[in-house]
Amino acid sequence: MTAKIVIGLDGTEAGERAIAFAKDLAGRIDGSELLVVYVIEWSPFTFQTPEENAQRHKRREEEIETAMTRVVTPAVESLKAAGFSAQGVVRHGDVAETLNAITVENNGSQIVVGRSSADGFTKRIFGSATQNLVMHADVPVTVVK
């Protein structure tokens, strides 16, 4: 049996714990693959100036490039170095929705994310991305503390 484990990173040390857990998990399943995902929080329903719109494409490329080089590529490299089969994806969107959508597209069997320690007023009202993911994901989600 092969399993594709999706690791959601947010660029904090919580991601490191998620990677460590996923490694452990993948080590127990033969032929499992790892997919490292970083979602750049973005909404199509915001308001922008004409100038921002004109530069948007350039900014988007820069954002993806930064996320790739700083977060995703190092994680993929370290997984590969440890002998795992791993790939990386960066995409814009709502964190929970997009992480789930990528998992479904790639036939992922489960999602592993780290629980970020941030705890603020807005999160109490709107819930965190992690909570939303757990509530709405189509596959089992493991939240690593």
Binding site: W42, T49, R56, R91
Partner: protein, 517 residues
């Protein structure tokens, strides 16, 4: 960036001191600016608004109405056939998740709307109804509905023929579809049209996109704190605009862009509440609108007067056929340029059919305009140029009085809304003007800076001048853009029809479909 900001503030302060010294020497600075401006722009204004020989009907109004009607028929009422599809596009139903992070249809629409929703909807409508009577509303709505087809045509072309640069930024608009589109079709003269359009676009940016805004913003502030010279407001506004467009102080622009939509929604909701409070008069108000549309109800100029005012103010408010929206929409990266055309046809609908109608209904329903009890017709003011109003108000103060008669606090909210709308419109138009400027003179920091400084100077002139010459020049400049733009659209509309046919067939066959989400 900090240094630039400091320079901006210091420069503005120096200018303020210099101007106040000048004002002490010549007490009538506002009048001097006003007279000089009226003299300078007079011939241009007369030409644009020249009537057909032997009639009182300006040829330019006919030009726009015919264009909107031609596009409506040529595209077989695209504004109705694709209205719901346009809404689906804005909702993101057809957006590929892999393109997430690019400018969305919603963002392009919101940006273009924040450039058009503004004083045209508040002050312009009051001018139209004040001169043309309630009947002007009917013609305004009709112009809005037809204008959707013009907007669809120009925005599709704007995206199709835009320039994409190596650094990933884009520039688009009528000047690009004129030169590239004409070239592609093997037609001569595209470049000449593009240059003409750019010149008028710069004038339009300085006029309707700047001076008119500054002027009305000043009137709002003066209406609350008492009368004071307009150039003072002008300098403050110029300083803030300078900080944003030259100093790169994006935070101000960002706050405005976020507050403006809420102001717009609040405006419409308040209008609906006032209309609801006067529910018994809704039937009467629509009766006035229809009767006035065909009889004029004794208004100056009669039915033709109502029609001219309605069409004029609709065009000024939603800018359909003017070409400005094509500049705003061209930032969207889409594989299908026509989708941007569909989205843009919602603009005249929201701007004119919804928001302008709200303003007109509130003015009519709160009975700001005096009706002669004997004839049942509207009474003219002493000069005979407009309908007499309760407190002699016109323009934005008429709208303010109408809303204020229901909610005494609303004029304050409206004043803030007008100032913010004015500001966001200025920011949008500074971009449109800049794109025209760089088309003519090339891109480059110094060249762009020159335009931006000229733009700021015109803020001061606009705030100091009287409404009459400012509104005339603003209209004339914006309509001059439409003369060139519509001319080009006639030649390029077949390109849009091919796109439309191809898209419609793929939509029908299911090749273009919603993304599951």
């Amino acid at each position: 960036m900090k240094q630039t900001c400091k320079f901006g503030l210091a420069g503005a302060a120096t200018a303020l001191l210099a101007s106040s010294a000048a004002a002490q020497e010549a007490p009538g600075l506002d009048e001097t600016i006003n007279q000089a401006f009226a003299d300078l722009t007079g011939p241009f204004v007369s030409f644009i608004f020249a009537p057909f020989p032997g009639t009182g009907f300006p040829w330019i109004v006919m030009w726009l109405v015919i264009a909107a009607s031609v596009f409506t028929l040529y595209f077989a009422f695209v504004q109705m056939r694709f209205f719901s599809h346009a809404i689906s596009l804005v909702k993101g139903d057809y957006s590929d998740p892999n393109d997430a992070g690019e400018v969305s249809h919603f963002q392009a629409l919101a940006t273009a709307l924040s450039g058009t929703v503004g004083l045209g909807n508040i002050a312009g409508v009051a001018v139209a109804v004040g001169i043309g009577g309630p009947g002007a509303t009917f013609w305004m709505i009709l112009a809005g509905l037809l204008g959707m087809a013009s907007k669809f045509t120009e925005c599709t072309l704007g995206v199709k023929y835009r320039n994409e640069y190596d650094d990933g930024t884009v520039s688009g608009g009528p000047m690009y579809y004129m030169s590239k589109g004409f070239n592609e079709l093997g037609l001569p003269g595209g470049k000449i049209l593009a240059v003409l359009f750019s010149i008028f676009c710069i004038l339009g940016a300085l006029g309707g996109g700047n001076m008119f805004q500054a002027n009305q913003a000043h009137q709002q502030i003066a209406g609350i704190v008492g009368d004071y010279p307009g150039w003072i407001t002008g300098l403050v506004f110029a300083a803030v605009v300078f900080l944003v467009i030259v100093g790169g102080l994006k935070s101000i622009a960002r706050v405005t862009e976020k507050v403006v939509p809420f102001m717009g929604v609040m405006y419409v909701v308040t209008a609906l509440v006032i209309i609801g409070m006067n529910a018994d008069k809704i039937g009467w108000a629509f009766g006035q609108i229809f009767a006035g549309a065909f009889t004029g109800l004794g208004v100056a100029g009669g039915m033709v007067g109502a029609l001219i005012q309605g069409f004029k103010r609709a065009a000024f408010s939603n800018e359909a056929g003017v070409g400005s929206a094509a500049i705003a929409h061209s930032a969207v990266r889409t594989k299908e340029p026509i989708t941007e055309g569909f989205v843009s046809l919602l603009e005249p609908f929201i701007d004119t059919v919804v928001i302008c109608t709200m303003t007109a209904l509130v003015i009519i329903i709160t009975q700001q305009m005096i009706i002669d009890p004997e004839t049942g017709n509207y009474m003219l003011n002493e000069a005979g140029t407009a309908i007499a109003t309760v407190d002699g108000n016109s323009g934005v103060s008429l709208t303010s009085a109408a809303f204020g008669s229901a909610f005494s606090w609303f004029p304050y909210i409206l004043a803030i809304a007008v100032i913010l709308f004015a500001f966001s419109t200025m920011i949008s138009w500074s971009y449109y003007g800049l794109k025209a400027w760089t088309y003519l003179f090339g891109e480059g920091h110094t060249k762009e800076l020159v335009f931006k400084i000229i733009f700021c100077i015109f803020v001061v002139i606009g705030a100091a001048a009287n409404l009459g010459p400012v509104i005339d020049f603003s209209d004339a400049a914006i309509f001059a853009m439409a003369v060139v733009n519509v001319f080009a659209l006639y030649f390029l509309m077949k390109v849009v029809r091919e796109e439309l046919a191809s898209y419609a067939s793929r939509l029908k066959s299911g090749e273009i479909r919603k993304f599951a989400g």
